[in-house]
């Protein structure tokens, strides 16, 4: 009778800690925001409503565009066979693993008004000015579609791979032609996958910050509006805006969840997926293959451009189409100048610290929820998942308000301006990632493995180290690597909470851009890209 009581106590402690991290700052912030003047200001100003509406329609349009690109691609790669299918299929999933900021600046260097292509056209056509300006809502949508089609692509492919070929054959045997099979069998079965992708795309673009920040110009969405208010020193207004954004996120999530339906495919278990059909006609096959490779190049071009720009020393590239000088000066500066090394070290240790704590909390949560089945297990699960449902800006502003006051009795401390606040913000964002990975793995872990270890004389810690963690490794590594990469490339929380001493790489990239140090910014981007790719590759290893 002693043990259960102890785990209930531990669960209560964990719930309090998670609530303090995840819920409490938002409550404090919302209370502060309830002050009437800020609310009145928000309600009466037209630009506030414009920004809120912009966030909503940009997110919806991003869902439509990403779906329009991702879904056909998924069918193409899952159902048809052509040379290079496997390699290309993996390559075009790449944009999702890179930090958004890196994608955005790569886009800037390629398609921006002084980017590679604009410049080439300008020289080739002898234009006075750049042929276009990459700014405003269309630029934001372009970047969103470019990076978020991957959600639709991956979800649809996963759904298609779970389709049982005999189900399609059954439909045909019952007299359904190809179109009827598609409409009456395939689409309904794919619905949960499609809705899942739509939710992810909607939430990601609602919280998207770097694209509107860099390409928005005068066009404001809610995330950039919030940061602008915060930088103007109007914290109460920023908090009102934050609450509005959070409400939109929650309402959007609830509405989309409604349409999700049950995941019937999971209930049915695994079938045998239809085998990809080789494309017979030579002309079409050549066309498909050519189009596939062109697409891959187009998708990878921004990152190649980033690499190219990172090799151009400061001031060396002015009006030429191709850079006249390429060398490693920028990288040398990155690693030899203390001022530039600092942000990299900052980002690395803060990401490592927040990931470690997030893993430990998720492990404790998994143990209490799955193994001890404590009474508070629903609360623990909800708290671990909650930060995912709200844009990063929401937590950044809430933390900025809550931890700028010293009131130890209310559990509020002055952390803003210290080295602790950014890791804390990253930690909040990391919890859903490590939590989901570890809880899912824990549920699949046969409890008799741990009992076997105990019956062989292994105590709790030895069982944890020798049996539990090795068995949880795939989910743990996947969650931890995603959390680490997200923290490493974070800009949303960083721009609100950084100080000069604790500035992370993303902030340094922005200030390099502002100083026209494009080469250094690109070099930072390349380093970020490489570290992220390596970490994710290690995390995905089976």
């Amino acid at each position: 009778m002693r043990r259960p009581r102890r785990s209930e106590l531990a669960a209560a402690g964990l719930v309090l800690l998670l609530a303090w991290l995840v819920v409490y700052p938002i409550l404090i912030g919302a209370l502060d925001a309830a002050d009437g003047t800020a609310l009145r200001a928000f309600l009466t100003r037209r630009n506030e409503w414009a920004a809120l509406w912009a966030s909503i329609w940009i997110s919806l349009a991003s869902v439509v565009l990403a779906g329009a690109i991702g879904i056909p691609l998924a069918f193409l790669f899952e159902w048809f066979d052509f040379p290079g299918r496997k390699t290309l299929g993996a390559l075009i999933a790449l944009p999702v693993v890179l930090p958004p900021l890196v994608g955005v600046i790569a886009f800037l260097f390629l398609y921006g008004e002084s980017g590679f292509i604009a410049r080439a056209l300008q020289v080739a056509l002898r234009l006075e000015q750049a042929p276009w300006r990459l700014q405003g809502p269309s630029a934001i949508l372009l970047v969103h579609a470019y990076s978020m089609y991957v959600y639709f692509y991956l979800f649809t492919r996963a759904g298609l791979a779970k389709l049982d070929v005999s189900m399609l054959e059954a439909a045909q045997a019952l007299g359904a032609d190809r179109r009827a099979t598609f409409r009456r069998v395939i689409v309904p079965l794919l619905r949960p996958s499609l809705v899942g992708a739509a939710i992810l795309t909607f939430m990601t673009s609602l919280g998207s910050f770097s694209a509107p920040y860099i390409f928005g110009g005068g066009f404001r969405v809610m995330t950039t509006q919030i940061v602008a208010s915060k930088l103007n020193g109007d914290l109460p207004l920023a908090m009102v805006e934050t609450v509005a954004l959070a409400l939109v996120a929650v309402i959007g999530l609830v509405i989309l969840r409604r349409t999700e339906g049950e995941d019937i495919l999971v209930a049915l278990g695994k079938g045998i997926a239809p085998r990809p059909r080789p494309i017979r006609r030579r002309g079409i096959r050549l066309l498909t293959t050519g189009a596939g490779w062109t697409l891959a190049v187009v998708l990878l071009l921004p990152h190649l451009t980033l690499l190219l720009v990172s090799l151009v020393p400061y001031g060396a590239w002015t009006t030429e189409i191709l850079p006249p000088v390429l060398n490693l000066t920028n990288y040398r500066r990155l690693f030899s100048e203390a001022e530039r090394l600092r942000p990299m070290i900052n980002s690395l240790w803060m990401a490592a610290a927040s990931t470690t704590v997030a893993v430990v909390l998720a492990l404790a949560g998994g143990y209490l929820v799955v193994r001890r089945r404590v009474a508070l297990r629903r609360a623990i699960e909800t708290l671990l998942a909650l930060p995912w449902a709200l844009p990063g800006t929401v937590f950044a502003i809430a933390l900025a308000i809550t931890f700028s006051v010293s009131a130890p009795l209310q559990l509020r401390f002055v952390l803003v301006g210290t080295a602790l606040i950014l890791p804390l913000a990253y930690l909040v964002r990391a919890l859903p990632l490590t939590g989901r990975g570890i809880l899912a793995s824990y549920r699949q872990l046969d409890p008799s493995l741990e009992e076997a270890a105990a019956s062989l004389g292994a105590g709790r810690w030895r069982t944890l180290a020798r049996v539990t963690i090795p068995q949880l490794r795939p989910g743990l590594a996947a969650g931890a690597s995603l959390a680490f990469v997200a923290a490493l490339g974070d800009i949303v929380a960083s721009i609100v909470l950084y100080t000069y001493e604790t500035r992370p790489v993303s902030i340094e990239i922005l200030s390099s851009l502002r100083l026209a140090e494009t080469g250094v910014a690109a070099a930072f981007g390349v380093v970020l890209m490489l570290v992220s790719a390596v970490v994710l590759a290690v995390g995905a290893r089976r």
């Binding site: 009778m1 046969d446 008799s448 270890a453 019956s455 062989l456 292994a458 105590g459 049996v467 090795p470």
Partner: protein, 324 residues
């Protein structure tokens, strides 16, 4: 007599009306006890209480007069073989078997290696150290699980349905080999099964569990010939139950309650209980005849395959009846 392993009134209350125990059992040193019962009878709960995976709501467990009830599983020194073996998939065979040997603080490595190879040799898997667990057949996995449980030299061995995952052809052979291994080591053993054959073949003694209670314990013969009640009589072996008129016709005298007669103790004769053969099931050396008596009772007679035909009118006598 006090046993090496004494189970003294242990019980587990899952809810108001689902209770296992109190159970009291003594097991002599080196004996093999089978916990036999239908699924859901609570036999696995008893095993888990012994292993320490469940906390009991009463009673004591004593090993060589030492009360281990308060000890956590890893201090009890009870070896356990799990139903699905629970081999660690991330470790190879040698590391699995060596798991309980390391971290006990007395390991120089050569000695641990020696013990691993001895344990594997015991189950006839010498030289399997570097194999991956998933490369083994079901029977080999079962033997690795036994070797792993025995390697740290536990005081008691617990087995949870150890043969249920094997196909029937393999099961019988494995059963004998398992008994040989246990007897060679001489370890006091408790195992759970729902199959009477397995309990008879592997156990020295059998404890019959039903609805969380101990119905009877004893040697196989004792349970078969002298069942304590109707449940034991019908669960252990085949049994025909007769009452009233039919019972009187079989035994001659009128019994007070029911009588139980095994199919092989019934024979066709010139007088006795009259009836008609309704069904004949041929098993090779013998056949089961389903007889419908004039009293309406249906029962089974085990006899020579050609003793009767379907539709024959017969009289049945009992060679030995158990009155309950």
């Amino acid at each position: 007599m006090t046993g090496f392993l004494r189970i003294d009134g242990i019980e587990k209350r899952w809810s108001h009306d689902v209770t296992v125990g109190p159970i009291t059992l003594d097991i002599a040193r080196g004996d093999i006890l089978a916990l036999l019962g239908p699924s859901g009878s609570g036999k696995t709960t008893i095993l888990r209480l012994l292993a320490g995976f469940e906390a009991g709501d009463g009673g004591r467990i004593l090993v060589a007069n030492e009360d281990v009830s308060g000890l956590p599983p890893h201090r009890r020194r009870f070896g356990m073989v799990f139903q699905h073996y629970a081999l660690f998939p991330h470790l190879d065979v040698g590391e699995n078997v060596g798991f309980g040997l390391q971290g006990r603080g007395k390991g120089d490595e050569g000695r641990v290696r020696q013990q691993i190879s001895e344990a594997l040799a015991l189950v006839d898997l010498a030289g399997f150290e570097r194999r991956k667990v998933h490369e083994l057949s079901g029977g080999q996995q079962q033997r690795v699980a036994v070797a792993r449980a025995l390697a740290p030299e536990p005081r008691v061995l617990l087995l949870d349905e150890p043969l249920s995952n094997l196909d029937p052809a393999l099961r019988e052979r494995t059963r004998r080999e398992l008994r040989q291994v246990i007897k060679r080591v001489g370890i006091t053993t408790l195992f759970v099964t729902h199959e009477q054959d397995e309990a008879f073949d592997l156990g020295d003694r059998i404890a019959v569990i039903n609805q969380g209670r101990l119905e009877q314990s004893g040697a196989p013969e004792e349970l078969y010939e002298k069942p304590a009640n109707l449940f034991v009589a019908t669960f252990v072996g085949r049994a025909n139950v007769f009452r009233g008129e039919a019972a009187r016709a079989l035994c001659g005298s009128a019994p007070r309650g029911a009588i139980v007669v095994r199919p092989e103790r019934l024979r066709f004769a010139d007088g006795g209980l009259p009836g008609v053969v309704r069904e004949r099931r041929y098993t090779g050396p013998a056949a089961f005849f389903t007889v419908e008596a004039d009293t309406g009772d249906r029962f089974e007679v085990l006899a020579e395959p050609d003793a009767a035909q379907v539709g024959d009118r017969v009289f049945v006598q009992a060679a030995r009846a158990i009155s309950l």
